[in-house]
């Protein structure tokens, strides 16, 4: 069972509190399957509330998705300004019209500087971070997009609500029964 090779750290984009469950997604902003998974993962976050934290890492398939790379860098740029999740969400919500002008519009929507954005893209300031995510994912056994990891193990089921709930509930159950977690 492929395991996450790069542990979650302060360099990651994490949403939610530290809890028993970490759900990590390697995603591509232009991938329709990631687009479909987006609302489902939000539902999962809501469902598990304080028990689950969500982590997103980049895995752009640049040869087949022409806007995947720039979208990823745009989100990282927003992240440097403290607005990663807002941008991540906006991009997925606007996936059907993903383009350079759309991304610029989203930058403006979040009140960020278009000049700084243009500079960041031109200088490829965030390309290394995106590539680092990608390679870490490849080494961890990412086999397409989206690839999900639950507590560091690759989840092989479909990115749908019910299968995820079954897997997460099982993890929570194991934890409840494990004497190591009872103080």
């Amino acid at each position: 069972m492929p395991k996450l090779k790069v542990p979650v750290s302060a360099n990651d984009h994490v949403r939610g509190k530290d809890g028993p469950i970490t759900l990590l997604e390697y995603g591509d902003y232009e991938c329709p399957f990631c687009g479909k998974a987006y609302p489902i993962l939000k539902e999962i976050e809501k469902h598990y509330d304080k028990q689950l934290r969500f982590v997103f890492r980049n895995f752009p398939l640049t040869q087949i998705h022409p806007f995947a790379e720039i979208a990823a860098e745009t989100a990282e740029f927003a992240g440097a300004k403290g607005k990663f999740w807002e941008m991540h969400d906006l991009i997925y919500e606007n996936q059907s019209r993903l383009s350079v002008p759309t991304l610029q519009e989203l930058v403006e929507t979040l009140g960020l500087s278009l000049d700084e954005y243009a500079e960041a893209i031109e200088s490829q300031a965030f390309a290394a971070k995106v590539r680092e995510d990608f390679l870490g994912g490849a080494r961890s056994g990412v086999n397409g997009t989206p690839t999900l990891f639950l507590n560091g193990e690759r989840f092989n089921g479909p990115a749908k609500f019910q299968p995820l709930v079954v897997a997460i509930d099982a993890l929570l159950q194991n934890r409840a029964e494990d004497p190591a977690f009872h103080s």
Binding site: D28, Q63, I64, A138, G141, V142, N143, G144
Partner: protein, 164 residues
């Protein structure tokens, strides 16, 4: 199906069409590591497509001086269209006639389905299989096994060079 060829075995040579009028033999690539990726069909959905994933990793494979070859039973014309559509920058070989012959040679052919299995091989510069893996049906194996095998090979080479 015959068993998947294991590490330590000499990789059987073969010659297959890489375009409708050109062939490629495994022996032509001796001297550098070769990654053989057997897969069932061209045209599987993009986001979970093994070939698309490996395509993104070509720069990494090249860091190890490795060549990547994709092999399926599809014809060369089909491969050409598929490679163009997905912007693949590595050769796809047609294990077309006799159908699945090379797949069978490597223990990577599914008789019932009539297609190659998802099987990966990393072959060293001397033509020996350094690592092989058969993925469960329907599961895209990812590239982690390949990268680890290439890393091991490169460490071995470094040690060997130091010993000279």
């Amino acid at each position: 199906m015959a068993n998947l060829l294991q590490a330590g075995t000499v990789a059987p040579d073969f010659t297959l069409n890489v375009t409708p009028d050109q062939t490629l033999s495994l022996s032509e690539l001796k001297g550098k590591p070769v990654i053989l990726a057997f897969y069932p069909d061209d045209w599987s959905p993009v986001c979970s497509d093994e070939m698309a994933l490996f395509n993104e990793l070509l720069p990494e494979f090249h860091k190890y001086n490795a060549n990547l070859l994709g092999i399926s039973v599809d014809s060369s014309w089909c491969h050409l269209a598929f490679a163009e559509n997905r912007h693949l920058h590595f050769p796809l070989l047609a294990d077309f006639e006799p159908k699945g012959a090379v797949g069978k040679l490597y223990g990577a052919y599914r008789e019932k389905a009539g297609t190659c299995a998802r099987a990966l091989f990393v072959i060293d510069g001397e033509g020996k299989i350094a690592w092989s893996y058969l993925s469960p049906t329907g599961e895209n194996p990812g590239a982690d096994g390949i990268l680890e095998a290439l890393e091991k090979l490169s460490k071995k080479e470094t040690v060997a060079k130091l010993a000279l």
